[in-house]
């Protein structure tokens, strides 16, 4: 099958600096992939490589089956949408004019621009100048621009930076709509909270190298990070001590009404059965390792690997 994005052993050097090193990454059509990493980890460089703005020093870059710097590049440019990091649109123009300009360049029918303004909740502000827009509105305009021509591939570079929680949620909601429609999305970010539910796979970059790649479940499994289980209820003091003294449980705290267990993933189900069988317990809450802790974990293992 052909990948939406296919990077094979890509290396990019700027003079003596290696920005990207041995990067291999395949994205299947319709997938939403989160490209995570610190500032300077190579996220933007990767996106620029995909857009054909820079050439790889080594390795092969293919986007929608073609080289982004090859002959078919113009056709390719009609099929992708891109939202650069912290872009500020022409302040003197209205939102509608900005979209019209980009729409003309992409040869999109004017009707589609209206629909996009509608879809992103910008119809009311469409005839106001961009300089009056809030950060959230600017970002929605940016997204509208990226969605011109119903792209097959969407590249979003740090779309949530500087957005308030509501604007962030709105952006993710739009993303979910696209996901349902089958658009392939590459989303780079270093703002992790809230992103989990909206992406299929995670690629963690560190110093230009791929540190981890997989679904969140796969990464959790691979990292073996502990789950935290919290239970509330009423029980005799000491009643749980002996029952929790078992392999796979690395720690717990208990008092008369609360129990907190930290355990590896493999004994999670056993513990749950035990807790649920106890009539005194009336609330159980399981916390899988968050994306943040996975991110920190993989960055630390990367650090250790380099040391």
């Amino acid at each position: 099958m052909s990948y939406a994005v296919d990077l094979q052993g890509v290396r990019k050097e700027y003079g003596a600096v290696t920005a990207i090193d041995r990067l291999s990454l395949q994205v299947t059509p319709g997938e939403v992939i989160g490209l995570l990493g610190h500032n300077g980890a190579g996220k933007t460089t990767t996106i620029k490589l995909l857009l054909g703005m820079i050439a790889a020093t080594q390795g092969e870059v293919r986007v929608l089956g073609q080289s982004p710097r090859g002959r078919g590049a113009k056709g390719l440019r009609m099929q992708w949408g891109y939202l650069p990091e912290s872009v500020s649109f022409y302040e003197q123009l209205t939102g509608r004019e900005v979209l019209k300009y980009f729409g003309r360049l992409k040869r999109v029918a004017p009707g589609e621009q209206h629909a996009l303004l509608d879809q992103l909740g910008l119809s009311e502000a469409a005839d106001r100048r961009v300089k009056t827009y809030s950060k959230g509105m600017r970002q929605r305009l940016g997204l509208a621009q990226a969605l011109l021509g119903q792209p097959r591939l969407l590249l979003l570079d740090e779309p949530t930076v500087g957005l308030d929680p509501i604007a962030t949620r709105e952006l993710y909601e739009t993303l979910d709509q696209l996901r349902r429609r089958g658009t392939t999305v590459i989303l780079s970010s270093h703002v992790l909270p809230g992103i989990e539910r909206h992406i299929d796979r995670v690629a963690i970059l560190r110093k230009g190298a791929l540190q981890a790649l997989g679904t969140l479940d796969e990464l959790r499994h691979e990292a073996g990070l502990p789950f935290t289980i919290r239970a509330k209820g009423r029980w005799q003091p000491g009643a749980w001590d002996s029952r929790l003294n078992r392999p796979g449980v690395t720690g717990y705290r208990v008092n008369g009404s609360q129990l907190e267990i930290v355990s590896g993933g493999e004994s999670k189900m056993d513990l749950m059965r035990m807790l649920l069988a106890d009539g005194g317990i009336h609330d159980v809450d399981v916390q899988a390792p968050s994306l943040e802790s996975l991110y920190v974990h993989y960055n630390q293992t990367g650090e250790a690997g380099h040391a």
Binding site: K48, L51, M53, I54, K74, G75, R77, M78, W80, Y82, L83, P84, E85, S86, V87, S88, F89, Y90, Q92, L93, E97, Y101, F102, R104, L105, K106, R107, Q145
Partner: protein
Amino acid sequence: MHEILAVGAKEFRDGMRNRWLLAITVIFALFALGLAYFGAAASGQVGFTSLDTTIVSLASLAIFVIPLIALLLAYDSVVGEAEAGTLLLLLSYPLTRFQLLTGKFVGHAAVLAIATVLGFGVAGLVIGGETGQLLAPELWRALGFFIASAVLLGWVFVAFAYLVSVVASEKPRAAGLALVTWLFFVLVFDLGLLGLLVGAQGAISNDVFPYLLLLNPTDVFRLANLSGFEAAQAYSGLASVGAAQLFRPWLLLLVLVGWTGVTFGIAALLFQRRKP
């Protein structure tokens, strides 16, 4: 072509929205009317008098003002978009860098041309009306030639503005470079040439000298407008060194077209190499 026109239309709209078009038109009209009215003050009278004097003094002023306006209009076209992030975005669109720069030129060139024609044209109407020469062909022929050369001079410096904008990594630097470009062509070049002439003590023959003037587009503009006017003798300074008779006026307009083309070409070439 579609892409070039799309960019051009957007730049033109910017020019309207920023009031550039209006401002340039008004400046040109006021300069022209002011010079026409007070141009004869030296001879002890005010009021609209000689067309020759008016155009010669207009040309002397235009040499300073038009390059400055053109540079201001366009110095941030590339570096400004790079700083805003829209350049990166545009480069992901289905258009080439050459199309982008050409489109910008179309837009800026149109703003300058329309402002020049309107500004000086309105001034021409007023002067014509006041002097009773409204229908006189010589007024419009002289003014028409002046306007055409002014538009071309503006275009040359729009191209220089792109050159500056492509080379500079930051907007303030582009502004500085634009100012240096302006100073060089309106001031330093002529002084340097004079110094060379004096220093060489006749080693540079009078045959070569006029051609050296062609190396400065503002001198080309001066030559084009001062040749053929008697009133020019008092004003023309450097350009009077026998050069005015050497070149036909329309040939000098072509030289300005050449300056525009070559400068724009270099800017486009360097834009191609600029890191996104």
